[in-house]
Amino acid sequence: MSIAIVWSQHLVSWTVDIGIVAIVVGMLLCVARLWRGPHIADRAMALDTLGIHTIGLIILFTLRIGSLVLFDGILVLSLLGFAGTLAVAQYVARPHIRAAAADVQKDPDD
């Protein structure tokens, strides 16, 4: 019985070890897209995905080191990633929306 419990605990720790490798490879792919992305929206999306992968890394470290000190970071990271995405989207879209609004205002006069 106790041997089986130890075996399943080892299963969890092996999964955490494999998962750290997978998350780090995913973070490298995100950084590559952040480097190359042809449009600014590509870079914003890569940064958001990088933040999500950091949340995953914090989760795996929490399971690995057995301490909850890092766990508050997941709330902060998810909120900041969403705020950054919205800020970049507004930065990209606002000149076009202003130009369209100016056209609509100008059209009746012409």
């Binding site: 089986a4 419990i5 399943s8 605990q9 299963l11 969890v12 999964t15 955490v16 494999i18 998962g19 997978a22 998350i23 490879v25 995913g26 973070m27 792919l29 995100c30 590559a32 897209r33 042809p38 449009h39 600014i40 929206a41 590509d42 914003a44 999306m45 890569a46 958001d48 995905t49 999500i52 992968h53 949340i55 995953g56 989760i59 795996l60 929490t62 399971l63 057995g66 301490s67 909850l68 000190v69 766990f71 508050d72 997941i74 709330l75 998810s78 909120l79 969403f82 995405t85 919205l86 970049v88 989207a89 507004q90 990209v92 879209a93 076009h96 929306i97 369209a100 056209d103 609509v104």
Partner: protein, 138 residues
């Protein structure tokens, strides 16, 4: 016995989440244009973070008899004064927030990219938003 079942559930949820997070990052690198990459990243990342947090919640709820005394396990009270109940609450909050926020952010970002005329894949079949707004509307 219950500990073994909860451990196996933890492993399954973690593997589910890790699979989707890795697929999301791979699609972010491999797919041809911005809209395809947005599709891969958003859906997969939402499922991935939900799966990993569910695995963490199951692991934190898996209190072992040896973990009752302090400083000996995740499920016991830790040095920083945070408890497993608080961590489970935060995990559920993050799951709800991601499920609400990821589609909103993806919609706003793809709308901004479409307004800015981001390059489209040459195999794109139709762009109905451009056809609808050809009269000058946004």
């Amino acid at each position: 016995m219950i500990h073994i079942i909860l451990d196996i559930l933890t492993v399954l949820a973690l593997l589910f989440g890790l699979f989707f997070m890795f697929i999301g990052a791979l699609g972010l690198w491999r797919l041809p244009d911005f809209y395809n990459r947005m599709h891969a990243a958003t859906k997969c990342i939402t499922l991935g973070i939900s799966g990993m947090l569910i695995g963490t919640v199951v692991h934190l709820a898996n209190v072992r008899p040896a973990a009752i005394e302090p400083h000996s396990g995740v499920a016991a009270k830790t040095q920083a004064g945070t408890s497993a109940v608080g961590a489970i609450t935060k995990a559920i909050l993050v799951i709800i927030f991601q499920v609400v926020a990821a589609p909103v952010g993806a919609h706003m970002l793809s709308r901004a990219a479409h307004l800015d005329r981001a390059a489209q894949w040459e195999g794109t079949l139709s762009d109905e938003l451009a056809e609808d707004s050809a009269g000058g509307g946004v």
